[in-house]
Each structure stands twice: as structure tokens, then as C-alpha cells.
Amino acid sequence: MKHWPFIFVLINSYRNSKFSLAMLMASLIIAASGLSAVLVINSSAKQSYDNEKQFLIPNINATIVARTPSKKLSKQDYAALRIQGFNHLVAVAQTRQHVYSNQNKLSKRRIDFTGIDTFSLITLPLFSKPQALSQPKALSKTTSAEQKNKINTTEEQQLTDSLLQQLSFNKATAILHPQLLNNLQAAADVADGIIFTTKSERALPELVALEDAALGNDIIMDISQLFRLYPDASLTMLLVVGEISAKQQSALQGALPEHLQFKNTEKTSQNSELTNSFHLNLMAMALLMFVVCLFIVVNAVNLLLNGRLAWLKICRQLGISRLQLFTVQLLEIVLLTSLASAVGVFLGIELAKLASPSVQATLENLYQVQVGFGQVSITGLLLQVLGICLVGSVCAIFIPLSKLNHQLAHTKDLPLSFTQQRFWKRIIWASFVFFASLGFILLHNVQELWLLLVATACVILSGCSLLLANYPRSLALVQSIIPTRYPLLQVSAKQSLALSGKTKIACCAFFIAATSNIGMNLMVDSFRGATVGWLDQRLAADYYVYNSGEPKITELAQGTGVNVYQRLENYVQFKGQKIQQFSYPTDKFNQQAMSFYENSESDRLWEQFTLGEGVLVNQQFSFGLNYEIGDTIYLPHPTTGETASYPILGIIYDFGSPYAQVLMPINMFDAAKSKSYIYAIQGDESAIVRLREVMLEAGLDPSTQLIKTEDLLAMSMQAFDNTFVITDGLNVVTLLVAALSLACAIIVLMNDVRPQNMLIRSMGVSAMKTQLLALFQYLQLCLVALIFATPFGILLSWILIFDINYQAFSWTYPLIINPLKIIQIYATSLLVVTAIIAIPIVRAGRKPLIEDIRWVN
């Protein structure tokens, strides 16, 4: 074992390098845990989202649903189709309700109660093959490693199979996810003997926990049980189970009554693209944090190797080759990375659990998806994280190792010659030109989201190059404005210039963190400002009532003295995409409440709109389907269904909506044929009191359904803030990580600046002053990085709003550059950096001067 003597020395050296080793491990663990947390969150959200869109039973290729909400799918329709021989249809009824116990609401969010006609299901020939049916539903279309892993768990397949049989033969059973059961039991606060009921105190069937990711927020039972619990529930859809031939499909479509439609389930919906954007954004943020963590790894390895330099030189003198030194140290990094990855994965899972409420809030706010509980394959996750971390750390140690190679080859670290300096300067400028051009070309020519993210990375990297190219000039500028009466500050400023050359990597990490921080904050700030303005304008009524079913609020409100503006909506197919037709009142009051992104200059806009001679579309429609003002679109009439042409009169803001929407005047809608969910109410307080009373009499809940505009605005903004809580969290973590990177670099540099600090202290400058001067030096570097990061941050927010948001969501909003927000980011960033770098600086400053003198001499 030729490496053994060196390994022996290396292991023993840990005694003297505990701090740098701890720093290295901490940075690797942070990177691994951050990455695994995001992978878990992504996987969980994806599973939940897939659950929302998929069916409990596999091999569902089509469904039969009602064409309009006004005429529903009935039990008679189901019976009629089965009588005609369509036995592969299985009825599903769904309702979203709370669970109660002793009249106490146990569920925080409403739970999806799903009833399946299990008798029909079990009589299907397909069901006689348990392996086909027993696959958990979330796995039928997925490809992720975790999910594939889960397919192989035959034990669970058998469990699902037996439970489905149990549902069909033992009618008093309902299945749900164990965690949902735990949550309900915990909320009931009684360990045993809980009777779960509906609001009307009907006892739920016996709840059986099933370890299946697919279950999420559902309680599944036989359809008869569901109708027993909720007699008013109606059939949601008929599942077409198994493969059907084109002939069978045509026969089925022919047999359908007019109000029902056949829908293929394989078409990807607009929403799944949206979740992809969410995952991509989350992944991009995680990778950003990961990259910044790698900067710490670079600095931490540098720190570790710096401490070893003396004895590494002795090893070389004793005849150990440089290759041997590298091999063992590379192996060491691989081992440390593996250990850190394992720890990081477990920490990441815990972190994901902690972040889970925020993720749920985000997904619910963005996509109206009820997020359930994800299943994680630890082995798969570990392999994924280990792979990425190994690649990252091996890349990260390249720079310190090559530096070490240089140091081992030369006894003296010679300064760069003028030619070398000029060479590196040219390389940096060339990198700037390369990244800036690539970013520019990509931003102007691509539409794929991942390429836009690459373009964003190019923009940030071009910023790094520009910063490095201009650091000396900028620092010289700072130095020139320091008055001569502060000689120490001047010296300190000059030292910063020298230090900037040695802290390039850490400064770049800080620049990246600062740029993303400014960019993300300006984006969120702009979005918030736009949303507040938009809501303020759009929510023009005094109150809003949310009621999706009967009774109609327009009817209830008659005689109460309130004015009701009904919002009617239809969903129609337009260019293969589901779009919303939404009613909009045409009176003066509502005209003023409209918030346009762009409108036709015509004075007759509202007149044309009122007469049905044109429509308004939201940005999602305009950008997503590529329409402009003046273009003509062909749409079915909301009442008659006849297709007619409508010119686009205006494009409106509609932040956060996943749907392309067309606004049409309310007189074109028939209340009986359209879905009605929102009612805008105007009236004095006494009229509102009367409305409240009639709502109560009609069995509605005015405390939750009749919402004052200010409360609605507050709720909307709360939802908004919840949506961005993850982004904010990741921003702060990235900044912390960048500050840690800088702290590592400072520790490495402490030895370099020690003689100079010693000298200044020996001239009678107090330790405190020396520490403050050191802090000033690094804050000066950070300030310059922040100044450079500002235009790039603004550019980043511009890209996020006008390119990435545009491509991902098909809507944009005005970019608001709030100088106060930028100053706030400056202050926060410098504060975070001060807090972190103060540790090594104070640590170094607390050493008695005599120790430094002895060390230097």
C-alpha cells in the first residue's frame, strides 16, 4: 500500500484542522440537504398533482362527463348506458367536504370524498387480474425513480387489491392515507373510539389506512356509502376502464345523450405544464443554492489544503509524488462527500417536512391543487444527491488542487507578470462577451423554459465576469474618495484591492447570491404591487358571495335591496385548449373597475363590448395563444353555442389564473346554462344584513361565503405571500451560503493579512480598530459586488417577468423598480455578511498581538 504513509499523516492532520474540516463538511451537508429537500418537495408536489389528475384505477383512457355544469350526469344516464351493453363504464361521484367528530370540524382543508361503483368495477374481466388493478394510481403514467421503485412493491399491490375487494364486498369501509388518518385522529384529540361524521352527523364508514402515495387528501369508498353520507352529491364522471377499440369508442360516443361528452384522458392539460414550470423554478433556485454551496466547498477545501501546505511540502521532500498526494486527497473528498450526502439526505427530508405547509400553500394558491403526502425512496434520493454532489465537489476541488499543485512546484508564490495579468484580463473580458452574447441570443430566440433558465445563468455569469474585470478599477474609485485624514481607511482600501484578487471565487458567489436576491425580490415586489393595484381596481363591489350551486344568489337577493352582479362562466375548447368564457357587467361602475394591459384606442370599446361586437381577453389568452388586439377569434356563443367571430378589443391583467379567458358581456349568458360561482354585491349595511339572513335561511354559510371586499383583498394578499414564502426562504439561505463562502475565503486569507494586521497593531492601533478595518475591507468588496449586482438583478427580474413568466404562465406585469427595496436588500445583504464574516475576523482579532508577532517573525 504505497499510499499508506501519506494517509497516516493525513488522518493525523485532522487534529489540527478541525475547523476547516467542519466547514467543509458543513458546506457539503448544506448543499446535499438543500438539494434533497427540493427533490423531495418536487417529488411530493408532483405525486400530489398527478393524483389530482389521475384515477384510482389504472388503465383509464377516457371519461364521460357533462358538457355544461347546468345539466349534470345522472344515475339514469349511467344506468341507460350500462343497459345498452357498455359494461366497462364505472361511475364515480366526488364531493369535497370537511370531516367532523362530535360536531367539531377536524379537517383544516376540505377532503375529497370519492365514491366508486366498486361492484361494477369488480365484475369487469380486467379486475380478475389483480396485478393490473392493484398498481397504485399515481404510478400509471409516471417515470420518476421513486415511483418506479414503488411499482415493485408487490406487498402494496396486494394490499390495494384486497382493499378494493374489501370496498366492494364490505360496504362499511373507506380507505385513506395513514397520515390523513393520523391528522384526523390528532385533531379529534381522542385516541380511541372516535366516530368520524359528516356535518349532518352521519357516521363515516370504518376508515382503513392504506400506505399509498396516490391517496393524498382523498377518502375513497363505495359509491353507495358516499350517497348515504351526502345524498345531494352527484355523479362526477363515468370511467371508461380498459382499452377500447375505435369502433367501441364510436359506438359509445353515438350512444351518449347530448349533454354528455366523451373525453380522452391522455391529453396533457395546461395545468401540467404549469406544474412543470413550478418544478423548474424550484429546481433552478435549488441549483442556485447548490452552486453557491460549491463555492463554499472550493473555499473550504482551499482552507483545508492551506493548513496542510507545510507538511505536504515535507511529504514531497520525503519522496511522495504529487500524483500520490492528489489521489489520496481526491479520495478523501469523495469519502467526505459521500458521508455528507448521506447526512444531507436525512436532513433534507426533515427540511422538506418542515417546508411542507408552505409548499402546500404555494401549490394550492397557484394551481388549486390539494397537496397530499409524498412517498420518498431514500435509496433513490441518496443515489441522486450523491451523484450530483460528487460531480459538484470534484469540480469544486479542481481550483484548490491546481493551486496546491502550483504551490508544491514553486517555493515562492510569485506575483503574476504583466503579460500574465494582461492574459487573464483578456480571458475575463472574453468570458463577459461570450456569456453576454449567448444570454442575449438565447433570450431573443428561444421559448423553451429550460433554455431561458440557461440564458438567465449566462446573464449572471456575464455579470460575474464584468465584476472581476472591473473590481480593481471600482475599488480604486472607492479608495480615491476616502479623505487623506483617514490613513488607515486608505491603507485598508488598498488592501481590499489586493484581497479582491484572492477572494475572486467568494466574491462571485456573493455576486450571484446578491443578483438573484435583487432579481427575485424586485420580481415579487412588482408582482405584489401589480396584484394589489389590480385587485383594488377589480374588486370594486362592497361584498362578494361565493356559491357554486343552488340556490342562485340573484334569486335570494331579490327584495333585500342589494345589487347583484352575477359572474357566469363556461369552459369551452379553443384550439385544443380549455378556455374560460367569463361574463363581465357592462355598467359604468364595472367599466371603471377594469384593469387593461392594452386596449384598442377606440372610444366605442365599451359600446362594442356591450353589444357583443367584440370581446376582452386576458394576457394568458393573448400570449399563450398568440393573439393581439384587433385579431378576430371564433367562439361558441355562451348561450346558443353557435360559433361566431369576435374581434379582440382589449387585453386585461389576470394575475395568477391558469386559464386563458375571454370576457363577454353578461347579457350574452344564460344563467341556467352557465356555471355561476362568484357574485359581486353592492348595497348598504342594512341590505347586507338582510342578504345574510336570507342566505342563512337557505342553508348557506354567510360567515364563509359572503366576504367583505377588504377581507377578500387581505385573504388574497395572504395567499400571495404564502405563495412566495419558499422563494423568500431560498433567497435568504442563498445569501447565507454566499456569506459563509466569503467567511471561508477570509479564514484562508487571515494568514496572508496577518503580518500587515500585526504591523498596524504594533503601531498602536487597537485590536477593535483593526477588526473594524478588516470588516471594512470585506464589506467594501461586498458593496462593490452589490453595486454591480444591482443592474444585473434588475435585468434578472425583467427576464423573470417578461420572458420566463411569459413563457411559463402566459402573463406578465409591470416591473416596479423600488429604490427603497434595493436599499433594503443592500442593508440585509451587508448585515448577513457582517454577521457571518465577523466570526473569523473577531476570532483573529482576539489573539494577543504578541502571538501574531511571534508567528510572523
Binding site: 490613513p487 488592501q495 500587515q756 503601531m763 498602536g764 504578541i850
Partner: protein
């Protein structure tokens, strides 16, 4: 005048107490030049550090009778702030490694202690640079100078704020014999010219002979040669 009275200092080395200075007494008057010789680890630098108020003795005192500041201050009893002030105004330090700040020019290096103490005498500094033979290098960076030139800059820096006492810890240890002779001669002459007391620790007998008093430190005791 500095009056060192019965200074005692000991260290614990591997659990064993070792007295490095044992009842050392010495008087340093203005303009005196004193060299201290001794074997490695004999306590020469420790004595210098005590004189610079960088370290505290176990016993004894160093009285500074300087009418300008504190008429009868005991350096060994100084607080950290007092010690800082003492070094800022009363002491100049020269090290074996020249310890020049490499990112600022020769002139800025020399001016730094003067600026820190607020005692800037431009004419005096020009004369100092001239007498040390480095006035032509003032705009250069330290790494553009030879070792001997760098040490001369360090001497100028040590004297720039007109300290009454200059402490030099093996100032020629890093120089070749030719430069060593030249620099040590310049150091002694300049101090004499400025009436600055010089305490110089050296291993070189030749350098020591340039000073007025030669002392030898052995087994914790200081004896005049």
C-alpha cells in the same frame, strides 16, 4: 528614560516552568544604543516585547520617566488602551522580516505611523529618507526593492513618528553580510542623530559592537559585556 527594574518572566514548557528573565534590570537613557545578544530562546525577544508593552512580566516594572506624557508610568501596568497609545507615540518597532505593507508605496509605508500618531513632519521624513538613502524609491512598491532597501524603509517607518525608543528585533537577520553592515550602521547612526534610544536584539557580534552598550542575556540574567 526607561528604567527596567527586576523584571522576571517565566514560561511553562511541557509542564515545566522555565524562568526566561530573572531579575533583569537596565536603564535606557535618551540617545542610548544598546545591543542584546544571547543564545536562541534566551529571552532577548521577550525583553523587547516587554519593553514594547506587548507582554506582561511575572514581576518587576519598566518605568517610563517621560515628562511629556506620564512622568512616572509603569509600562507593565498599562491597560490595553494605554499600551496602544504608548506604542503609537513612544515606540518604534523593527522586525527581522521587514513587514512592509506590499500594496502601498514606500512613502506611504513610511508615513503610516506618522499619520496614525498625527505627528506628520514632512521635512523630517524627507531628511530621514535621505539619510537612509532611499529617497529615490519613495514611489516604488516594497516588492520592487532589495532586502537591504526594504529594511531601510522599515527603519524609516520605525522612526517616522519620532519615537523616543526604537526596538529592533534582529533587524539584520534576513540580510547578507554586506547589507547587514550597511543597514546596522545606518540604524545606529540615524538613532544617534535623532537622539532616539535604540535597543537592538542581535546574534551578530559585529553588529552589536556598533552600539554604545553591549549586553548578554544568559540563563535569565543580563550582563554587560
Amino acid at each position: 528614560m526607561f528604567h527596567i527594574k527586576k523584571l522576571t518572566k517565566s514560561y511553562t514548557d511541557a509542564g515545566e516552568k522555565r524562568t526566561i528573565l530573572n531579575n533583569v534590570s537596565l536603564i535606557i537613557a535618551a540617545g542610548d544604543s544598546i545591543s542584546i545578544q544571547g543564545a536562541s530562546g534566551s529571552g532577548k525577544s521577550t525583553l523587547l516585547h516587554l519593553l514594547a508593552a506587548l507582554d506582561k512580566p511575572d514581576a518587576g516594572s519598566i518605568e517610563l520617566s517621560n515628562a511629556k506624557l506620564n512622568s512616572d508610568s509603569d509600562i507593565t501596568q498599562f491597560s490595553e488602551k494605554q499600551a496602544d497609545n504608548y506604542r503609537r507615540f513612544q515606540v518604534g518597532l523593527i522586525f527581522q522580516k521587514f513587514n512592509l505593507i506590499d500594496c502601498i508605496s514606500v512613502m506611504e509605508n513610511v508615513m503610516l505611523p506618522a499619520k496614525i500618531s498625527g505627528k506628520i513632519h514632512a521635512e523630517y521624513i524627507q531628511e530621514l529618507l535621505h539619510s537612509l538613502g532611499i529617497e529615490q524609491h519613495v514611489n516604488k512598491l516594497p516588492n520592487q526593492l532589495s532586502g537591504g532597501e526594504q529594511q531601510r524603509v522599515a527603519i524609516a517607518r520605525g522612526l517616522a513618528h519620532k519615537p523616543p525608543l526604537l526596538l529592533a528585533d534582529e533587524p539584520t537577520g534576513n540580510l547578507d553580510s554586506k547589507n547587514s553592515d550597511l543597514v546596522s550602521q545606518l540604524l545606529v547612526d540615524t538613532c544617534k542623530q535623532l537622539n532616539t534610544a535604540l535597543v537592538m536584539v542581535t546574534h551578530s557580534e559585529k553588529v552589536a559592537l556598533l552600539t554604545q552598550q553591549q549586553w548578554y542575556l544568559d540563563d535569565g540574567r543580563l550582563t554587560q559585556i
